[in-house]
């Protein structure tokens, strides 16, 4: 008799994990290529979006967020909720500073200094 948490036989098949692994490696390759395409400020947007997608795959499949106990979702979502509070509240400070980004910052591909800042 099995009395512990069971992994459903379908979930134990390695193929979905191998496919996800190949997809994550492929996405890592795409992320690397975007660094050399001269995409300007879109490059970090693409790279961090890819990282978020890869992380979602890791969390849901490899960290078995998909599956019992479903209370795991509350913990996982709360982490990102608190993180969004941290980022949001911190940015209300920085975004309101007239001297931020600093005036001496020169523009460069990637993140550019805000043009309307004094």
């Amino acid at each position: 008799m099995t009395i512990g948490p069971e992994i459903h036989p379908k979930r134990a098949r390695p193929l979905p994990f191998v496919i996800a692994w190949l997809a994550m490696l492929g996405l890592a390759g795409v992320s690397l290529v975007t660094a050399f395409l001269g995409l300007g400020h879109w490059a970090p947007v693409a790279q961090f979006s890819i990282a978020a997608l890869q992380t979602s795959m890791l969390f849901i499949l490899f960290m078995r967020l998909k599956g019992p106990p479903s209370l795991k979702w509350v913990f996982a979502i709360s982490g990102f909720l608190w993180l969004s509070f941290l980022y949001g509240l911190s940015m209300t400070d920085y975004a309101d500073r007239r001297s931020w980004p600093p005036v001496q910052a020169s523009s460069a591909p990637g993140f550019e200094a805000h043009p309307n800042r004094p």
Binding site: I7, T34, F48, M63, Y87, A105
Partner: protein, 216 residues
């Protein structure tokens, strides 16, 4: 008599399944703290990167791209081998479980070795703030901020990965040998797997922060 034959839930749990669920939730609660820990670090990075875009682009060109990329592939692969070990444990295949755990720990050690080589290169390139640092033209004082982030972030990540390797070895050399990981109860291994993949996820974000800046 193997320990698995007498495996019973701890006194506060009704069943092993309940005990396993509690163990998983405990790890997730810990990872919420870790998310905020690394999240705050990366937020600081963004504040400085937006403040000094040119300086960061110049400084980041000295980061050893191939080391970071190879290590990314190693960590993604180790997450796969870890989950294969858990699946093998669930299906009652101890030989396969041990094999995948050995591969996972080996990949973790290879990551650390590549990282160690990269640190050596960084020292040669004189990008170690306070200890051995020379600012490049166009980098300014803000370039040093990039390298402070680099050493703090990769150092903390390496500590986490070292703990992960230790946990995998503990599973392999202690819990598995004592017959405590069985198809009936493999939650300890699953909890280590959750931690391992989280450390992998942290690197997914550190990689573009450090290695993909200022390349075009």
């Amino acid at each position: 008599m193997p320990a698995s034959a007498t495996l019973r839930p701890e006194i506060q749990f009704a069943t092993l399944e309940q005990q396993g669920d509690a163990a998983q939730l405990g790890m997730w609660a810990f990872l919420v703290n870790e998310t905020l820990f690394f999240g705050a670090l990366i937020f600081t990075y963004f504040v400085y990167r937006i403040s000094y875009p040119h300086e960061f682009a110049v400084a980041a060109k000295d980061a050893v791209l191939w080391c970071g990329t190879v290590n990314l592939a190693i960590l993604l692969t180790s997450s796969l081998t870890m989950v294969l070990a858990i699946n093998a444990a669930a299906q009652g295949e101890p030989r396969a479980m041990k094999r995948w755990l050995v591969v996972t720990a080996a990949l973790g050690v290879i990551f650390l070795l590549v990282k160690g080589y990269e640190y050596y290169q960084d020292f040669q390139d004189r990008v170690v703030p306070v200890v051995n640092f020379v600012a490049k033209p166009g980098e300014g004082a803000a370039g040093e901020l990039f390298w402070v982030f680099y050493w703090v972030a990769t150092g903390l990540h390496a500590i986490h990965l070292t703990i992960g390797v230790g946990l995998v070895l503990y599973m392999l050399l202690w819990r598995v040998r004592r017959g405590e990981i069985t198809p009936a109860y493999y939650a300890p291994l699953e909890v280590v797997g959750i931690y391992w993949s989280f450390v992998d996820a942290v690197w997914l974000f550190l990689y573009p922060c450090i290695y993909l800046v200022g390349r075009s």
